[in-house]
């Protein structure tokens, strides 16, 4: 039944009580920890709105059981960077004025940051390929590509 577990999120340890080990990580982050960055978009891993980094890799937190990340390092959008210490991609995102509504932003920034971490100078086709699984209903796709290329030039 209920068990305690500790999540490492944005450099801090949080202990939560979990009734259902199959509960997706998204609900632990939002409901137990009160973190608003990852958002519910589909619950199916199809859109990316819930994306966080688990040990540096982007994952869809809506489809990952919380029990699978007990020892992992989790980073949300706010943990990626803030106004004092922005991630270069966040800076580029503002310079390119990428978003409209911003509901999808966790997926794009977390995927983009992961891409830059493994490939600091991606080509435009590589950026487009990295973003192909994400959904944005405002149509900000090209602006997101421009932002990654801008960040990569400044790195």
């Amino acid at each position: 039944m209920a068990q305690k577990m500790t999540l490492q999120v944005n450099g801090r340890a949080h202990t939560i009580t979990v009734d259902d080990p199959d509960m997706p990580l998204l609900y632990a982050l939002r409901d137990d920890l009160g973190l608003n960055n990852p958002r519910f978009g589909c619950g199916l891993g199809q859109c990316g709105a819930c994306t966080v980094h688990v040990d540096g890799a982007p994952v869809r937190s809506c489809s990952l059981p919380v029990s699978a990340v007990a020892k992992a390092k989790i980073t949300t959008l706010n943990g990626l960077g803030d106004r004092k210490k922005p991630h270069p991609l966040q800076t580029a995102w503002i310079e390119e004025q990428v978003n409209q509504c911003g509901y999808c932003i966790n997926g794009w920034l977390m995927e983009g940051a992961a891409l830059l971490a493994r490939n600091p100078k991606p080509t435009e086709p590589e950026v487009r390929a990295a973003f192909n699984d994400l959904i944005c209903r405002c149509g900000t796709h090209n602006a997101a590509v421009r932002a990654v290329l801008r960040a990569s030039k400044q790195a």
Partner: protein, 758 residues
């Protein structure tokens, strides 16, 4: 409660003497004489300047924008407009958006009129505020107002700039108590007039500049709360339980089926069914576990594949001819040749990125609602209607949220939350699921366009007919201002109020013997239908322009004219013609007929170009699409889009470019992949596979936006007008590439292959 009529006398008695008389009432305001008290908050008076802006001691300006920013940058653009007329820095503006306690009902988001209607109203209020403050300073300094100037919210004497006073010092925190002339209307038509002169566009300093968007840093750093992020003490998480078959209602619910889930409960009121729990995941588990006996229902829907055949044969409930000149039948009789074409447009879901989500806290003496619906004042009215509460007891707090491009599911989720909170006596957060959002949001509905033209021996078009037939665009209202317009209201038995609502985009093509109109048919299901129609972004653009602008190319082919030349010959408005000319020029359009003469029929991959034009309000747009068609795979891609866009005065060029680029991407998805599917019983597009949307690999990588500068013309709208051209421009380009005319949206590989094989 303040019952006083605001008057300049009251304001000035607080600060000194009386200099300026009350604005003379005009016949416009006299005739209507409706109460200026906002139905959502009687302390707000529509004929009071104080309902539009307030200036605090530090010179910060609260702007009361009775509408919203759906993510397209209106917060910044409206702030620029107000700052311009008030002569304050942009950083002095604080936009107050959509809050029903603090703003008047200016219609919410509707028809991309944020700038053209609501922004220009607020500019008039700003100009009046500036005038009052300057006159007040002039009176104190015993000089003429003309001797003063304003910079950055500081009034100074031109001849001695060290003599200065800040706005905040004069008015800081006090009301103006000044009248504006209100036109007696709420919602979209709301407007005001004042006697203060507006600046000439030649003197603009902020308008026409591109300051960065105010809202973006909060979003980029994960600081922006949306309605789903509101957490209230004792709040319960709810999931609505929807029937597997449209029209079925819950007969009985097995309470034991969710008993194993901690704190989970069932709420069953008439035909409305939900599960709630203190923890969100437990509400999801309860939704999955709950056992419901549903009533028998057989909606017998014609499927999405059969819906156009249904539209063709269904009884017409209303026929309206919108524009007619000459006699169509005479023109057709005289014609040497008559050509005709039919074009089918599918049903689309709003398919918003975030499914409907709202938080309601309903108490005995009033309700507070947190929502991102695009029409918050109407949402308050609808909740008041649902809960039987006075309208001013419902406070809707509008928040940024998922992009709202039409009446998506946010308003229905808002109504759900209100009903559940009242029933449970606790704050309730309702989150719709993905399958619910696609399955049960109000839809942008299907239509068939019937086009006909008569051509005489000389190649002159002497008859033209366009009739668009389909479901009304308002099976439910375009706002949730009545219980009957919401799923919750319908499930609780509210009397339906459908309308026959349709429209044909205006165009300045002038043909002898012309008839343009529409026909509506009955909805497939009346109550709580997953296919109920309402406004989806550019509700009459893509569905009708796909037919009318593709057919223009068919006529051009019939008379062997270049499609650009053909349009320039029959369009009569100079701004229309400019848009067409400039789009063609920027695209490097070479004059010739379609299909291209050098089409290589042996090649798998062929390319073509097409153009489409429209006018919407006073926005004039032409779009050139270049496409690549893979004849083997059937994949159609837009490789380049070139848009010439005339919106009149441009407030923020960079934001305008972005808004156009992004809607062209969205429009490409509506053209090539999006289609709602359903069977006899229910919607079957229930996730992002079965309701496919555009992914990066098919996004047009080259989008060139050319803004036509007309600063002397009033600003029109831009948030949805260009997207309506994508289907026709791409359809015309596919014809140019292949010689095959596509007659149905979306251009899926299967459909394209089937057409190419004919």
């Amino acid at each position: 409660m303040s019952d006083h009529q605001p008057s300049r006398r009251a304001f000035l008695s607080a600060s000194g003497a009386l200099m300026i008389g009350l604005a003379s009432p005009d016949a416009w305001a006299q005739a209507a004489r409706p109460s200026p008290k906002s139905p959502n908050n009687p302390d707000l008076l529509a004929d009071s300047l104080d309902a539009y802006l307030a200036i605090d001691k530090n010179g910060k300006v609260d702007v009361f924008y009775g509408a919203i920013d759906g993510g397209q940058g209106l917060e910044t653009s409206i702030a620029q407009m107000v700052a311009e007329e008030l002569d304050v820095p942009l950083s002095a503006i604080r936009m107050v958006m959509g809050d029903t306690r603090r703003t008047l009902n200016m219609g919410g988001a509707s028809g991309a009129q944020g700038v053209s209607r609501r922004g220009t109203s607020l500019m008039k209020a700003a100009a009046q505020a500036r005038q009052i403050l300057v006159e007040e300073a002039a009176r104190k300094w015993r000089v003429q107002p003309g001797e003063l100037a304003v910079k950055d919210g500081v009034i100074f004497l031109r001849s001695n700039p060290s003599k200065r006073v800040a706005y905040g010092k004069i008015i800081g925190g006090k009301p103006f108590r000044e009248n504006v002339r209100w036109n007696g209307q709420w919602g979209n038509p709301h407007d005001i007039a004042t006697d203060a002169p507006l600046k000439s566009y030649k003197d603009y300093k902020l308008i026409g500049q591109s300051p960065r968007r105010i809202d973006l840093p909060k979003k980029v750093f994960g600081e922006q709360d949306f309605p789903g992020d509101v957490r209230l003490p004792g709040m319960l998480h709810a999931r609505m339980v929807r029937p597997p078959v449209a029209g079925a209602v819950p007969v009985s619910v097995d309470e034991a089926s969710i008993r194993h889930i901690k704190g989970a409960r069932i709420v069953h009121i008439k035909d409305l069914l939900a599960v709630v729990a203190p923890k969100e995941w437990d509400a999801v588990r309860a939704l999955r576990a709950v056992q419901v006996k549903w009533s028998q229902s057989d909606p017998a829907f014609p499927s999405h594949r059969e819906v156009h055949a249904h539209i063709r044969k269904a009884k017409v409930t209303q026929r309206t001819i919108e524009r007619e000149n000459g006699k169509l039948e005479d023109g057709l009789a005289k014609a040497a040749r008559v050509i005709s074409g039919e074009y089918e447009y599918p049903t689309h879901s709003h398919a918003s990125m975030g499914p409907g989500c709202a938080v309601a806290d309903v108490r005995v003496d009033g309700a507070t609602i947190y929502t991102s619906t695009q029409k918050p004042h109407y949402a308050a009215d609808g909740v008041a209607d649902l809960l039987n509460m006075p309208r001013d007891k419902v406070h809707v707090v509008w928040m940024f949220g998922t992009g709202s491009y039409g009446r998506n599911d946010q308003g229905d989720a808002t109504a759900d939350a209100a009903v559940l909170s009242k029933a449970l006596g606790a704050p309730v957060r309702v989150q719709w699921m993905r399958e619910e959002s696609l399955g049960w949001d109000p839809k942008g509905t299907a239509s068939v366009n019937f086009c006909k033209a008569g051509i005489d021996e000389t190649g002159e078009v002497i008859a033209y007919e366009l009739i668009s037939r389909g479901f009304s665009r308002e099976n439910v209202s375009t706002n949730e201002g009545r219980a009957s317009a919401t799923l919750a209201g319908q499930l609780l038995g509210a009397k339906l109020e459908p309308k026959n609502s349709f429209n044909i985009p205006f165009a300045s093509y002038t043909f002898a013997n012309n008839r343009v109109g529409w026909e509506t048919i009955a909805p497939l299901m009346d109550r709580a239908s997953p296919l109920r129609s309402t406004h989806l972004r550019d509700p009459y653009g893509p569905p009708i322009l796909f037919g009318s602008e593709c057919f223009m190319d068919e006529i051009a082919v019939a008379v062997a004219m270049d499609p650009v030349d053909f349009r320039l010959r029959y369009l009569t408005h100079p701004r229309d013609k400019d848009a067409v000319r400039i789009a063609a020029e920027k695209a490097g359009w070479t004059k010739r007929t379609s299909p291209r003469p050098d089409v290589d029929r042996t090649s798998d991959v062929v390319e073509g170009r097409g153009i489409a034009y429209r006018r919407h309000f006073d926005t004039f747009i032409a779009l050139v699409a270049e496409v690549r068609v893979n004849r083997r795979s059937g994949v159609v891609e837009a490789t380049r889009l070139v848009c010439a866009h005339d919106v009149g005065l441009i407030i923020n060029p960079e934001t305008l470019r972005h808004v156009i680029e992004r809607q062209l991407v969205y429009g490409t998805g509506r053209t090539t992949v999006e289609e709602l599917t359903w069977d006899r019983n229910m919607v079957t597009s229930l996730d992002w596979s079965s309701y496919p949307v555009l992914h990066m690999q098919h996004v047009p990588a080259r989008i060139d936006v050319h803004l036509i500068e007309r600063p002397e013309a009033a600003p029109s709208g831009a948030a949805e007008m260009a997207l309506g051209l994508v289907p026709a421009a791409m359809g015309n380009a596919v014809f140019d590439a292949t010689g095959v005319r596509l007659r149905k949206i979306p251009f899926t590989p299967d459909y394209v292959k089937s057409m190419l094989a004919i």
